[in-house]
């Protein structure tokens, strides 16, 4: 089962629409609420990252009986130093992003904490791809 969502860079009014929609789908599929929370928190952090840093992005969510796979792909400035970006407390967020309650350098580490696997690749000047996998099998 595959779902796709477009994300607008800079539009905080819509940030979270994709995560909200995925949460409703996972609830309908009777996924364990604890798993739902981990998935949607990680996805929401990723969605906020696209809104905060990129020009636009796309979220693809693929659900099967064994796992939930999410790919968040954006067109944006990219991340020059991924290890630094994964460091708790490191942030390049603007004042506007901070006013929204984000930009404390916690997003990527929190995504990693909430997913069973996180793969991040980025090209400076082109964009970033984050892939999150959450296992469903017991």
């Amino acid at each position: 089962m595959e779902f796709n969502y477009e994300v607008e860079g800079g539009n905080f009014a819509k940030a979270g629409n994709a995560a909200s929609s995925v949460k409703k789908v996972l609830k309908q599929l009777n996924v364990d609420p604890k798993v739902i929370k981990r998935v949607v928190v990680a996805l929401y952090e990723g969605e906020v990252n696209v809104v905060a840093h990129a020009y636009k992005g796309n979220i693809m969510v693929d659900i099967d009986t064994a796992r939930i796979f999410i790919r968040i792909q954006d067109e944006g400035p990219g991340i020059p130093d991924i290890d630094l970006a994964m460091t708790v407390g490191y942030s390049t967020a603007s004042a506007m992003v901070r006013e929204m309650g984000f930009g404390a350098g916690m997003g990527l580490p929190n995504m990693k904490r909430n997913a069973d696997s996180l793969k991040l690749s980025s090209k400076v000047g082109e964009g970033t791809i984050v892939e999150l996998t959450t296992n469903l099998s017991k």
Partner: protein
């Protein structure tokens, strides 16, 4: 653990219930005060009341993702109609209170509301 009903929280804070009036008899286990939504997204607690001075749509979205169903807005912050709409869809109770963050937390702590950590 001492539970507190949302109704009691509203009474202690002389707060206005602006969304979810029908659910104010729900129990709350603990409180967490933050204007940083990233911190809220790291919590695992259930039946939590979020106390915040930040009033924008991302507070409600954060609560939705983190399974928080009671938000107290301090310092006279006003909930927008769009925030109320998304909160109602997600079965949340929203309270507006006139006190400062420090005062609000102090009153709730004194009344026995537990911290998350």
């Amino acid at each position: 653990m001492l539970l507190m009903k949302i109704r009691e929280i509203a009474e202690i804070l002389d707060a206005r219930v602006v969304c979810g009036e029908e659910s104010i008899d729900r129990d709350i286990n603990c409180g967490f005060a933050s204007d940083l939504m990233s911190d809220v997204l790291t919590l695992d607690s259930e039946h939590l009341a979020l106390i915040t001075g930040l009033a924008n749509m991302q507070v409600v979205r954060t609560a939705e993702m983190a399974d928080v169903n009671c938000i107290v807005f301090v310092r006279n912050k006003i909930v927008s109609p769009e925030m109320r709409e998304v909160a109602a869809e997600n079965d949340m109770v929203l309270l507006e209170c006139k006190y400062s963050m420090f005062n609000t937390i102090g009153m709730l702590f004194q009344a026995g509301l537990q911290p998350v950590y």
